[in-house]
Amino acid sequence: MNGILQSVLAPHGPQAGQIATLAWALFAFGSLVLGLVIAAIWLAMRGAPRIREVLARERTIILLGLALPVAALTILLACGAWLTRAQTGHADEALRIEVTGQQWWWRVVYDGPAPIVSSNEIRIPVGQPVDFTLKAADVIHSFWVPSLGGKIDMIPGRTTRLRLTAERAGVYRGQCAEYCGGPHALMSFKLIAMPRHEYDAWLERLAGPQSAPSTDNEQRGQLLFLAAGCGTCHAVRGTDAAGKIGPDLTHFASRGSVGIDTLPLTAENLDRFIRDGQHIKPGNRMPEFRIFSSAEQTALVSYLMSLQ
């Protein structure tokens, strides 16, 4: 997990960049004021009689405790108001992606002629402003990608919006920032910024149906998947599995992780998650499936790993 991009102080987009600049300005301001207060205390205790006499005046209290802060805070407030406006403005050419927070995963819907459903991994083109439409299916969540910008809550019954832009290609980590119970700590996601043409190609592939399983093992896996009732919760487009309770698995194997970013995607990890998911992500809504023989389990895993 080393080297993830999830820091306010390492901005990779204009929104986060503006806020980081503001943050550094605020730290400078804060250090200055703190230094002033410490100096005043020191002088009050150990300073020359003349200085202490000045510090002990009511006029000094008003100057240092009221007039100076009023001036400083007015400037800060003006900067804040300007930046708030700059960050909430909307442009028409933005791309739209809808993200819904659910206990404890993310449903992602890309705008298109027909909406394209995915989950737990968001891809965007580099340099293009993206307007996220944010919803919540159960409790309050909060959508936050620190390297790209601020967070906005996802509130049941309401729709909120957030604009982010990635200036460089890369993988940015995002995380739910509003406590949502149980394994809230594990409700993270990856946001992948890629060059425009790669993004277009990827989206086209995502919109397409899933190719039929090619090997025997994969076919057996698909039958098991459907027969064991996985489709009650999960959807794989082009099959009977159309559940909406859990993440859409149509292009599952093209995503980098299993268990919503708790483990990197490998066959072993997937195998573990199916049998031992409550241990890996305690409290998650998927029961542990230990009903399969090891051959069945292998077939199921190879089917899921084929969902490129």
Partner: protein
């Protein structure tokens, strides 16, 4: 400085020898219950001890929870605590620290210190104070105990629905939070009423508002803020509990509710809460700094203005907890500005303390060190507060460890350090020995260093992207190092607290009769020779720093040369003075010790807790017992009028007063302010949900016909009229009580009738409380009204019983006066409710 009032000065100090037996009579009246019966004491010093001790106990318990969390977070992917346990622990840590430590300890210090500081013998309602303490203690212990049965709430200390609604938190934990905390807040309000009346009406003669110690000012503002802030969260807990228990959909968006309603109500309380905690601590600093610098406080009036301004501003910035909820930019900027403005009064106070230090010479005692530590930590917390008041910065920092660092700097810096300083400073007023300066300085050093090591790195952890309230985190190198440092700091901090506890065990020798006293050479009245009854005689105050400016005051007071050197009536007494000028107005007889307040508190706690675990019958029994105890206690109040009494220096005051002169009239008025805030919170909820979901509101033609509210209004008005008539019909002597009883009886009937008509009108119109938000709110208005009607029915029965027993007459009428006040309030609230509930949908 104002000239003292000449009439008061005549014959001061009294040079005559004191009569024999005067002191013994005073001591006899204030004699403490023996051995374990001390729990029945209602005296403020005893209750104050218990109160502070209990609050410190909860501080230690919540601190242990914090250490458990720090252990879990010391390394990434730790499995020391399960997610569910961790979630319960962080919820309990916040809840216990805020509701069972921070507010109670401040209130406790007020109950312990204020009477002595004001020169009163006790607080005006000793039994209410005892009730508030025991309710808090019993309720708090049960609430904390839920952790051991895996029944603790796990929704975070601000309990946001829908996570805390019945669907996503089906267990009892959330109910324990809602009923337990709601109940403990009622106890906080009881304490606040006591403190307000105490500060305004029991000051020593001559202690005008302008001469009142700053700590008393802060307690006045503190209690006033509780009166307006706590009702909002009490209403919120009521709404959520009704939603959980009966499905009234206040927070369910599909039925017209809104999750943000909770956030508005909660933070309308929750933000003032921070200043509720901070202001009294600032008041303590304003007492410690002048004493330790041996010079009067510089900028007294500026500080008073700053305190009042903080009180006002703090109600205008609750939305800054909701900057990330997607509200419009205009309101964002408005609340951003308000959030910054509240920094100004704090700036004034900080520089006033610095000015005082500059004017004198600061002795570096343990108390001073804690004050210096406070100045550093609190300033830093205030500065990060200005940062998160900047909306765009808050979008990044909100709900991260940066915010965790910020509010610990504000709360630990702004409240805990002054509180520890206060423990060291005031211990000599209540102990036979002083606390050790050596241990104190060691405790301070460990706490100060430990605190900064634990919490400073959290600013960075948060900006590096770590959200708060996570039970684990991935092995990101920076996060791991920073978290490990924080854990080490937390244990360093805890070791400082241990040193303090060790010091307490070694040196604290609590006493009510012979404390070591004025070791710091302080200026305020708590440094007189104080006993369980306060000073031997209540001094005439002619300055802000009486012990400095009035030489010999301490000895004169001790020798009984000032007011009320003994007991006039043979009972416990204190002087009631006017609220601004502190002129003696009456002699207040105070009740003695007894079981009813303690038992009433235990049974009230029993009622709420049994209700939580759904033992409805037992809960009901417990509730009836609580009511019985309260009635027994009330029966002993409003004592028989006695002739005027001399309190010394030829000043004669009445021993029985009614109306605005009486202390209970003031308490009732404050209670009405609480009730009004509660009702206004409901009005806000009604209008707020209407703006969110107007579609669930009925059209004018679906409303109940206007005859219904008209009848209800007529009945309400009639009941008020009948109460006025009952007041006229109060018997002069014991005969001829029928008219009074009949008028009260009819008034009860029409009051109940009006509520019945109101509920029936909605039922017949087809509204149901569990169908949509409008229905729920309409019935909620009646539910609130019902609580007042029930209270009035009990009070009316009580008044009738007093009348029949010959204890209520035209002269002895305080019981009736209080009934009438609350009655007219309830009628006004009912009429307003009718206007809102029936009028608004017709014009909207």
């Amino acid at each position: 400085m104002n000239e003292p009032v000449p009439a008061l000065l005549a014959g001061h100090p009294n040079k005559l020898p004191r009569p024999k037996g005067e002191l013994e009579a005073l001591q006899a009246a204030w004699e403490l219950p023996k051995s374990w019966r001390i729990v029945t004491s209602v005296n403020n010093t005893v209750v104050g001890y218990f109160y502070v001790a209990a609050a410190v106990l909860f501080f230690l318990l919540a601190g242990i929870l914090a250490l458990l969390m720090r252990l879990q977070l010391a390394v990434p992917s730790n499995t020391f605590l399960s997610p569910e346990t961790y979630n319960q622990i962080f919820t309990m840590h916040g809840t216990v620290m805020m509701f069972l430590f921070a507010v109670p300890v401040v209130e406790a210090m007020g109950i312990l210190l204020l009477p002595q500081m004001l020169g009163a013998r006790d607080l005006p309602f000793p039994r209410l104070g005892a009730f508030a303490f025991w309710a808090y203690f019993v309720g708090g212990i049960i609430f904390f105990g839920t952790l051991f049965y895996d029944l603790a709430p796990s929704g975070g200390w601000f309990m946001y629905p829908p996570l805390t609604g019945a669907q996503y938190s089906p267990g009892l934990g959330a109910d324990f939070w809602l009923l337990g905390i709601g109940f403990i807040e009622i106890s906080a309000i009881a304490g606040a009423i006591e403190l307000i009346v105490g500060v305004l009406r029991t000051r020593a003669p001559g202690m005008t508002l302008d001469r009142m110690p700053i700590f008393a000012w802060t307690m006045l503002v503190f209690a006033g803020m509780i009166v307006f802030a706590f009702p909002a969260v009490i209403l919120a807990t009521l709404l959520l509990e009704l939603e959980r228990a009966f499905g009234w959909p206040f927070f369910v968006p599909q039925k017209g509710g809104d999750a943000l309603l909770w956030q508005h109500l909660f933070w309308f309380f929750g933000h003032p809460e921070v200043y509720i905690i901070f202001l009294p601590a600032a008041g303590m600093v304003s007492m410690i700094v002048p004493t330790m610098s041996r010079t009067p406080l510089v900028g007294y009036r500026l500080i008073v203005v700053a305190l009042i301004a903080t009180g006002f501003f703090s109600f205008g910035l609750w939305v800054h907890h909701m900057f990330a909820t997607g509200i419009p930019a205009l309101s964002l900027n408005l609340f951003s500005a308000a959030s910054m403005a509240v920094a100004l009064p704090s700036g004034i106070q900080v520089f006033a303390w610095i000015a005082t230090i500059a004017a004198g010479r600061l002795q570096l005692t343990t108390a001073s060190l804690f004050v210096l530590g406070f100045l550093f930590v609190f300033t830093l917390g205030g500065l990060t507060g200005v940062m998160v008041a900047m909306v765009p910065f808050d979008w990044q920092a909100h709900d991260t460890y940066f915010v965790v660092a910020h509010f610990h700097y504000v709360l630990v810096g702004g409240m805990l350090f002054p509180m520890f300083g206060a423990f060291y400073y005031w211990a000599p007023a209540f102990s036979r020995r002083v606390l050790s300066e050596r241990f104190g300085k060691a405790a301070f050093s460990l706490m100060f260093i430990g605190f900064n090591v634990a919490f400073f790195p959290m600013h960075i952890t948060g900006l590096m992207g770590m959200p708060r309230r996570v039970y684990t985190y991935p092995a990101v190198a920076e996060w791991s190092v920073l978290n490990m440092i924080s854990t080490i700091g937390a244990f360093l901090f805890a070791s400082g607290v241990l040193v303090f506890l060790f010091d307490l065990v070694r040196n604290l020798r609590p006493t009510v009769s012979d404390p070591i006293g004025d070791v710091w050479k302080g200026a305020s009245l708590e440094w007189l020779h104080n006993h369980i009854y306060g000073p031997r005689s209540i001094p005439l105050v002619t300055s802000r720093d009486p012990l400095w400016d009035q030489p010999g005051l301490s000895e004169e007071s001790k020798e009984g040369r000032h007011y009320l050197p003994g007991t006039v009536t043979g009972q416990r007494e204190t002087i009631i003075t006017s609220p601004i000028e502190a002129m003696p107005q009456a002699l207040q007889r105070l009740p003695g010790d007894g079981w009813p307040p303690l038992l009433a508190a235990v049974f009230t706690a029993g009622f709420f807790m049994l209700l939580t675990v759904k033992y409805v019958t037992l809960a009901f029994v417990s509730g009836v017992l609580a009511l019985a105890m309260i009635l027994i206690w009330m029966w002993g109040s409003d004592q028989r009028p006695l002739p005027h009494a001399e309190i010394g220096h030829g000043i004669k005051v009445p021993t029985y007063v009614g109306g605005p002169l009486s202390h209970s009239w003031w308490a009732m008025v404050v209670l009405m302010l609480v009730a009004g805030s509660l009702y206004l919170s409901l009005v806000f909820s009604y209008l707020f949900l209407w703006t969110v979901s107007p579609q669930v509101w009925p059209k004018p033609e679906q409303m109940p016909p206007s005859l219904w509210p008209f009848v209800s209004a007529v009945l309400l008005t009639a009941s008020s009229g009948l109460i006025v008539l009952a007041g006229r019909a109060l018997p002069v002597r014991s005969r001829n009580r029928i008219a009074f009883v009949a008028a009260i009886g009819l008034a009860v009937l029409s009051l109940c009738g009006s509520l019945g008509v109101e509920v029936l009108s909605h039922w017949r119109a087809g509204f149901r409380p569990d169908v949509d938000a409008h229905g729920a709110l309409v019935y909620m208005a009646s539910f609130l009204q019902l609580q007042f009607v029930l209270t009035l029915v009990v009070m009316a029965g009580f008044a009738i019983a007093r009348c029949l027993a010959g204890m209520l007459s035209r002269r002895r009428r305080v019981v009736f006066g209080n009934l009438a006040l609350l009655w007219h309030y309830t009628v006004a609230q009912g009429l307003f409710g009718l206007l809102l509930v029936h009028g608004f949908p017709r014009v909207a």
